[in-house]
C-alpha cells in the first residue's frame, strides 16, 4: 500500500467514524439514570423503556403512527403496483406524464407540501385525522414504491405472461398467478419502504399535527426541543431493533427472490 492509498484509506475511515459515531453514541444513553441526555451515560437502568411504555401519550402516539404507517404501506403499494404495471406494459403518453409527476413528491421540499396540505386539510375537514395523514404519507411513499416494483416488473420475462394468456388466462389471472408471485419479494419490500417512510416522517406530520392527535415523530420532536430526555435513545434502541429484524427479513426475501426468478426465455437456450 503506497502513501497515496494509505492517506485515502485513513481519510475514508475517518469519514465513516463521523457517520457512525452519532448513530451509535445515542444507543447507550437509553440506559442512563439521569433526567437529561448525557454522554457517557451515568448508571444503568431500564427506567426509560418503562416510562415510554407506561406513558399514555407516548403509547397513543405509537399506536397512531403505527396505524398510519400500516395503512400507508398498503395504500401506496396497491396504487403504486397498479400504476407500475400499466407503465411497464406500455402506457405511452400517459406514462410520460406519470414519470414527470412521479418525482414531484421527491423534489418539492417537504415543508412546502406540508404547508399546502395543512391548508387543504383545514378546508376539507381532514386535518388531524387518520385519513389525512394516510393521504399525505401515501403521496410521499409512492415514488419509492413505483421504483421498487417497476424494477422488478422489468426483470420478469413478459413471455411468461404471454404464454399464460395464450393458454386462456385473462390478463388479471396472468398477472395474479404468474407475474405477481415473481415480483412478490419486491412488492413486499416496497410495502416496507412505505411503512418506514410514514413511520419516520417528521416534517409533514409536524405541520399537520394538532394538540391531541400527535404522531410518534411529533412527540419525539417536542421532547428533543423541550427536554431532551433519555426517552429518545430508548425509542432509538427499539427502532434499531425493529430495523435489524426488517433487514434480516429483507435479506431472506432477496434470497427467496433469487431462487424464484426464472431465467428469461432467451437465456435458456
Amino acid at each position: 500500500m503506497n502513501g497515496r492509498t494509505l492517506i485515502l484509506n485513513a481519510y475514508v475511515y475517518a469519514v465513516l467514524v463521523f457517520i457512525l459515531v452519532p448513530i451509535l453514541i445515542i444507543l447507550p444513553m437509553a440506559f442512563s439514570e439521569t433526567e437529561y441526555l448525557v454522554f457517557p451515560p451515568k448508571g444503568f437502568t431500564f427506567d426509560w423503556f418503562g416510562r415510554f411504555f407506561s406513558d399514555r401519550l407516548w403509547m397513543q402516539a405509537l399506536q397512531f403512527s403505527f396505524q398510519i404507517a400500516v395503512a400507508t404501506a398498503i395504500a401506496s403499494t396497491v396504487i403504486g403496483t397498479m400504476a407500475s404495471y400499466a407503465l411497464v406494459r406500455g402506457a405511452g403518453a400517459l406514462g410520460s406524464l406519470f414519470q414527470a409527476l412521479l418525482i414531484g413528491p421527491i423534489v418539492v421540499p417537504h415543508v412546502a407540501l406540508a404547508v399546502a396540505l395543512y391548508l387543504f386539510f383545514e378546508r376539507v375537514g381532514l386535518s388531524g385525522t387518520l385519513a389525512g395523514y394516510i393521504i399525505a404519507h401515501t403521496v410521499l411513499a409512492l415514488p419509492f414504491v413505483v421504483f421498487t416494483v417497476s424494477a422488478a416488473l422489468l426483470s420478469v420475462d413478459p413471455a411468461l405472461e404471454d404464454a399464460a394468456m395464450s393458454c386462456g388466462a385473462t390478463r388479471f389471472q396472468a398477472f395474479r398467478l404468474v407475474t405477481l408471485p415473481l415480483i412478490l419479494p419486491n412488492v413486499v419490500s416496497a410495502a416496507l419502504f412505505g411503512f418506514i417512510i410514514s413511520f419516520d416522517e417528521p416534517v409533514v406530520t409536524f405541520f399537520l399535527a394538532g394538540i391531541r392527535d400527535k404522531t410518534l415523530p411529533r412527540m419525539m420532536f417536542d421532547d428533543i426541543e423541550q427536554n431532551l430526555t433519555p426517552i429518545i435513545p430508548a425509542i432509538a434502541v427499539l427502532l434499531t431493533g425493529i430495523s435489524v429484524l426488517i433487514l434480516i427479513g429483507a435479506a431472506a426475501l432477496r434470497k427467496a427472490a433469487e431462487n424464484r426468478t426464472m431465467p428469461r426465455f432467451d437465456e435458456m437456450k
Binding site: F18, I26, R89, V108, P109, D162, P202, V203
Partner: protein, 304 residues
C-alpha cells in the same frame, strides 16, 4: 507526449446507450386498462399534491390583496432577503462539505472489492435505517456545552473553556451534511464504477502519473455523478426543516423555519404561502435546469 483527456477516450465505452429506466415490455395493455390502472395514482397526485400546492400559490398572490405584495415584501425587507441568502449559503456549504466527505469515500468504494466494499457500503447506507430525529438528538448531545466535542477540543488544548456549538450555523451545517452526505456518495460511486479500468491503464502507459490520471481522466468522467449528487444535496438542503429547527439559532432562521414561524406563530398565511412559492420556484428551476443529470437510476448508483 499526447495530451490525455477524457474527450479522447472512446465515447462509446464511456457512455453506453442510455437505458431508460422505464421501458415498455410484454403485450401492451388496452388504453382503457391503462387509464383504469393509473387512475388512483393520478387522482391522488392531483388532489393531494398538485391542487394543494397550486391553491397555496394562488393565495400568495390573492391575499390580502391581489398582486405580488407578498413577494415584494420578501425581497424588499432586508430581514427576509437575509434569510433567503442565508438559506442559499447554508445549502451551498452543506453541499460542498458533503462533496468533500463523499468523493474520497466513493473513490475508495470504486477501488475496493469484497468484504471491504460491503463494509463501506453498509456504513454509508446505515443512516437510511436510523431516524433523522434520533440523529439530530445525538448531535445536540455531542455539541452540548459539556458534550464530547467540547471535552475533546479542551483535552487536546485547542480551546481553554467550552465554546458554544449548539444552536449555531456550524451545528446545522455539520448535522445536515451528516444526514445528506450518503445521497452524494451513491451517484458519484455509480459514475466511478462505470469508468472502464483500461482508461486508467492507458493514461499510465501514456505517461500520466496518478495525479494527472485522476484530474484528467477520473474526475471528468465522474462529473455527471458529482453534479447529480451535488444538486440532490443542494435541493434537499434548501427546504430542510428538522435540523435548522432543532439545532439552529432562532436569530439565524432559514426559509423553512421562517415559513414555520409565519404560519404557526403569526398565522400569516399569505406571506407563508409566498415563502413556499419562492422556495418551490427555486427548487423547480434548479431541477429543470439540471433535468439531464437528474435521473433516478443514477441517483441510486445503478449501472448504466
Amino acid at each position: 507526449m499526447q495530451k490525455i483527456s477524457a474527450s479522447s477516450a472512446p465515447d462509446l465505452a464511456v457512455h453506453p446507450q442510455p437505458v431508460r429506466f422505464f421501458e415498455a415490455s410484454g403485450r401492451k395493455l388496452s388504453q382503457a386498462a391503462i387509464v383504469f390502472l393509473m387512475l388512483p395514482f393520478f387522482a391522488l397526485i392531483f388532489v393531494a399534491f398538485l391542487y394543494p400546492l397550486l391553491s397555496l400559490l394562488l393565495i400568495s398572490v390573492q391575499e390580502p390583496e391581489p398582486g405580488i405584495t407578498n413577494y415584494v415584501r420578501i425581497f424588499e425587507n432586508p430581514i427576509y432577503a437575509t434569510v433567503l441568502l442565508r438559506t442559499l449559503r447554508l445549502a451551498l456549504l452543506v453541499s460542498i462539505l458533503s462533496l468533500m466527505l463523499a468523493l474520497p469515500v466513493a473513490l475508495l468504494m470504486a477501488r475496493s472489492r469484497g468484504p471491504k466494499l460491503a463494509f463501506i457500503t453498509a456504513c454509508i447506507l446505515l443512516p437510511f435505517w436510523s431516524s433523522v430525529l434520533v440523529r439530530t438528538a445525538a448531535w445536540s448531545v455531542l455539541l452540548q456545552r459539556n458534550g464530547l466535542i467540547n471535552q475533546g477540543l479542551q483535552a487536546v488544548g485547542i480551546i481553554d473553556a467550552p465554546v458554544k456549538l449548539l444552536y449555531t450555523q456550524g451545528a446545522v451545517i455539520v448535522a445536515m451534511s451528516h444526514v445528506l452526505m450518503p445521497f452524494m456518495v451513491l451517484p458519484i460511486y455509480g459514475a466511478l464504477r462505470n469508468i472502464p479500468v483500461e482508461l486508467g491503464r492507458a493514461a499510465a502507459i501514456c505517461g500520466a502519473g496518478p495525479n494527472r490520471s485522476f484530474w484528467e481522466v477520473t474526475l471528468p468522467l465522474a462529473m455527471p455523478g458529482i453534479v447529480a449528487g451535488f444538486i440532490l444535496v443542494f435541493l434537499s438542503s434548501l427546504g430542510y426543516f428538522i435540523t435548522p429547527a432543532l439545532l439552529g439559532s432562532p436569530q439565524e432562521m432559514t426559509i423553512s423555519t421562517l415559513i414555520s414561524q409565519q404560519l404557526r406563530e403569526f398565522l400569516d398565511w399569505p406571506f407563508a404561502a409566498a415563502l413556499v412559492g419562492v422556495l418551490s420556484l427555486l427548487v423547480t428551476a434548479i431541477t429543470l435546469a439540471f433535468s439531464r443529470v437528474f435521473r433516478f437510476d443514477r441517483m441510486m448508483g445503478a449501472h448504466e
